[in-house]
């Protein structure tokens, strides 16, 4: 199948503006006068002036030059880019969910509170924890709050020596960042030859200074930390807490639970695992679950149910809480989608999600093992979980073409690239997470594309190095894009002037 993305020469909407052109006819005078404070009044709005079809066409064209899970395969490792059922979006867009206001009286939002209450119950069951706070608005926010809870816990024991947080060298970069933001020193433990936490190194690391270990399981290599019970014992014996990074929860749903493995604090990425598209910087939700002993430290408010009065309410009366960590009550829309998804799937459905996700990753692993140019750095007879990390090092040795070029060339096949150069412990890493959403045919197509690229690297390296050519735009100046981002019309005009 050949691929060509739409390529419009599309100006910015401001550049399309023609004075006096309108889409909607607005009433001449507002029906009631609103008293806008003087300091908020602007003389000129400088909104673009266009007709409705012009606006629709503009955004349709932009969307055609975009790429998402709805357009094709998106094996971006550790991001769980699964298909998100449209019915979740539809229900989250219902008036009852979408048009409520956080300042409304509790009596008028009982349904919303009930949804949060029930979602919390579901999540405690999935993770094997006592309570969950839905407040945290993203994955890294969840990690950070987990570290604040860790701090509160040790402080409550009058133990102020614990200033170190341990992270494996395969951890997501947000782990050390979250620990550092919470004021901890970060100690990295190496992985062993099996791609798991080196238990001896961990034993040499823990001490009376250990506050917590942050661990992702399955880890970023897609491998299950099979010594987790021993790991938990080592950390607990030293007096530290065990934090579960929920980034890879899709690999164990309904099969095992972080709580059963000995984790004290668990975080979820609802926007990965439970039906909100991940990425794009849009709203996420990174709920935090804790075991009984840590419950009192959870952020306020929690949703409680008053049996006598038969009503739900926000509970702020929690004296040991670390406090408020977000305005209002979390990203409610994301919570709605997650709850709908959980109801749709049910317990068995969630187990099947993991089965299919793991099967798909192992299928890719088996098929790709026979392809010249890619290799596994760890035992290939060791099954992976939801994702697999290949190294393009052999290809780079043979042809000088590494993971970066392979990733760019894949775009020409109408597929999103895997995560590359992560985790850093694998050279020329290609981190592939197919998710449960894909068919066998799609996975075959992907492996075939990687095989073709490896052959092209030998026979026609220029083709690989100049990719992508079938996309709306080719090579971006990535350095310039991150050093001088121009994210608004105002900034664009300023930069053009300056």
């Amino acid at each position: 199948m050949s691929y060509q993305q739409a390529r419009w020469v599309e100006p910015l909407i401001f550049e399309l503006s023609k004075p006096g052109r309108v889409g909607w006819t607005l009433p001449e005078k507002p029906r009631e006068r609103i008293n806008v404070p003087k300091e908020l009044l602007r003389e000129k709005l400088e909104l673009p002036e266009l007709s409705e079809p012009e606006v629709v066409r503009h955004y349709t064209r932009l969307s055609q030059m975009n790429y998402g899970v709805d357009s094709g395969f998106y094996p971006l490792g550790s991001c769980t880019m699964k298909y998100n059922p449209k019915v979740c979006e539809e229900l989250a867009a219902l008036e009852a969910a979408n048009y409520i206001h956080p300042h409304q009286a509790e009596e008028t939002v009982q349904g919303a509170l009930e949804l949060m209450y029930m979602l919390e119950r579901c999540l405690t069951e999935i993770a094997g924890v006592a309570r969950v706070s839905l407040q945290t608005s993203a994955g890294a926010h969840g990690e950070f709050v987990a570290m604040l809870i860790t701090r509160a816990y040790h402080k409550s024991k009058r133990d102020d020596k614990r200033n170190q947080v341990i992270v494996p060298d395969s951890a997501h970069g947000t782990n050390p960042a979250s620990a550092a933001m919470a004021g901890y020193d970060v100690v990295t433990v190496p992985s062993n030859a099996r791609g798991r936490v080196d238990l001896d190194a961990l034993k040499a690391t823990v001490s009376e200074r250990t506050a917590a270990l942050m661990l992702t399981n399955p880890n970023t290599l897609g491998l299950f930390e099979d010594q987790i019970i021993e790991i938990a014992k080592v950390v607990h014996d030293a007096g530290g807490l065990l934090f579960y990074d929920g980034a890879n929860l899709n690999g164990i749903l309904g099969r095992t639970r972080p709580g059963d493995m000995g984790f004290d604090i668990v975080h979820f990425n609802l926007h990965k695992t439970f039906a909100t598209p991940h990425g794009g910087g849009g709203p996420g939700a990174g709920p935090i679950g804790v075991q009984k002993e840590l419950e009192k430290f959870l952020p306020v408010p929690l949703v409680e149910y008053d049996k006598k009065k038969g009503r739900y309410y926000f509970d702020y009366d929690r004296p040991h809480s670390i406090g408020k960590i977000k305005g209002f009550y979390g990203n409610f829309g994301v919570l709605v989608k997650a709850y709908v998804y959980l109801l749709l799937m049910g317990g068995e459905g969630l187990s099947e999600v993991t089965e299919a996700a793991v099967l798909n990753a192992n299928y890719i692993m088996r098929k790709l093992l026979g392809v010249d140019g890619y290799e596994l750095k760890f035992n290939p007879s060791d099954p992976c979980k939801h994702e697999v990390v290949f190294s393009a090092e052999p290809l780079k040795r043979m042809t000088g073409i590494g993971a970066h070029f392979v990733a760019k060339r894949l775009l020409d096949f109408g597929m999103h690239a895997p995560t590359y150069y992560f985790p850093p412990i694998v050279p020329e890493a290609l981190m592939i997470e197919p998710t449960e959403s894909e068919s066998k045919e799609e996975l075959d197509r992907f492996v075939e594309a990687l095989r073709t690229i490896a052959e092209e690297a030998k026979s026609d390296p220029d083709k690989v190095c100049s990719a992508p050519t079938a996309t709306a735009i080719g090579r971006l100046d990535e350095v310039k894009a991150s050093r001088q981002p121009i994210l608004s019309w105002r900034a664009y005009r300023k930069s053009a002037k300056g």
Binding site: A180, Y184, V186, V187, T188, V189, A204, T205, G400, P427
Partner: protein, 368 residues
């Protein structure tokens, strides 16, 4: 127009295929030839030069006669200005040094050097860090951080350096004792530092790096080390750029790169000390030794910093040895080694040691 120097060590790499582990010394060259070794360096240099020609960047190529560059340049179809004199077929280390010195005199912007660790050592002996160099990997031993990954990438790095410019960084020039290496003993020596174009993906020593912000990482390490420093305590800084960053962060700009400097109360106490100096200077004062591993080899004590004798290390205590390394250096150095004159002390260091890798960041690394 930019000026590019080219030095080919035509005999580099000959010992490799015939199992001689190197080609240093006239006797080895003779032996390699006897074993049927064929030159490898010239052909690889031509590969680099062809890449340069294809891209079509404008530069003046200055090189040495015959097989030391002129032949390779013409084979690649590049015009070159040839300087100096050699006896073709009998080139020596002296020729390499002279060539480097004369190119410095010609004001070249970069010297491409086809060779191995031995060639690199010869070059920096002649010109130090006065001119940036870039290694085309053609030797047997290539432990120095001056080499590009392949001859082709050497061409690409050189092209980028000449056309758009690249930042420079100091890279370690290593050599290992071939005599010992042939007897399966690894005796690595830090010969010094060279200026090389900084290109994190295509250069050998940094190929594992993901962030690659070496200087920023060193600065972060230095900041934390200084926060950890106590008054009335001597800090003995071993060789290397990472430890030097600590001195610089303290405002000490005349610390030595290859020697051991002592610091007390945030001030330079003694510079470029030997074992005896150190023993006298620290007396009974509490002391901390600060070292950085030799890239790839991983030696933290006993190589390149023999000033820290076993007597001094024992006196200071294992717990007072701080090891500093940037994350990307660690990635190229998976395990650490200690090789002092005291086997028992070496054993004491075995196991896991905490390495300072950033500001308030450490990493556990195995000492084998």
């Amino acid at each position: 127009m930019k000026k590019l120097g080219l030095i080919v060590n035509p005999i580099a790499g000959m010992g490799g295929r015939v199992g001689l582990k190197g080609t240093d010394g006239a006797d080895t060259v003779a032996k390699a030839l006897e074993l049927g070794a064929e030159p490898v360096s010239p052909a690889r240099a031509v590969e680099t030069l062809q890449g340069l020609k294809r891209v079509g960047v404008e530069f003046e190529l200055i090189t040495y006669p015959a097989e030391m560059g002129a032949t390779e340049a013409s084979e690649a179809g590049l015009k070159a200005r040839v300087i100096g004199h050699i006896t073709s077929g009998k080139t020596t280390a002296g020729d390499t040094k002279r060539a480097a010195g004369e190119m410095l005199g010609q004001g070249v912007d970069l010297i491409l050097i086809a060779g191995g660790d031995g060639t690199m050592s010869d070059v920096i002996e002649a010109i130090g860090t006065q001119v940036p160099i870039l290694g085309i990997p053609t030797g047997v031993k290539m432990h120095s951080a001056t080499f590009a990954n392949t001859p082709q990438t050497a061409g690409e790095v050189a092209t980028r350096f000449l056309s758009e410019g690249l930042p420079l960084r100091e890279a370690e020039v290593m050599d290992i004792n071939e005599e010992a290496y042939r007897e399966n003993r690894l005796v690595a020596k830090l010969k010094g530092y060279a200026q090389v174009p900084y290109e994190p993906v295509m250069m050998q020593a940094t190929k594992e790096g993901s962030t690659g912000y070496e200087l920023a990482d060193q600065k972060a390490i230095a900041r934390w080390v200084i926060e950890l420093m106590e008054r009335e305590r001597v800090y003995a800084l071993g060789p290397g750029t990472t430890t030097r960053a600590v001195a610089e962060e303290l405002g000490i700009y005349d610390s030595t790169l290859l020697g051991v400097d002592l610091i007390e109360n945030y001030k330079l106490l003694a510079r470029d000390t030997n074992e005896q100096h150190i023993i006298e200077a620290i007396g009974k004062k509490p002391t901390t030794i600060i070292v950085s591993p030799i890239g790839k080899q991983g030696f933290i004590l006993g190589r390149g910093n023999q000033q820290f004798s076993s007597v001094i290390i024992k006196r200071v205590g294992k717990g007072n040895v701080w090891v500093l390394a940037t994350p990307h250096k660690l990635r190229a150095t998976p395990t650490l080694k200690v090789d002092t004159d005291d086997a028992e002390l070496d054993r004491e260091f075995q196991g896991y040691i905490r390495v300072i890798t950033g500001y308030r960041q450490t990493c556990m690394v195995k000492v084998v």
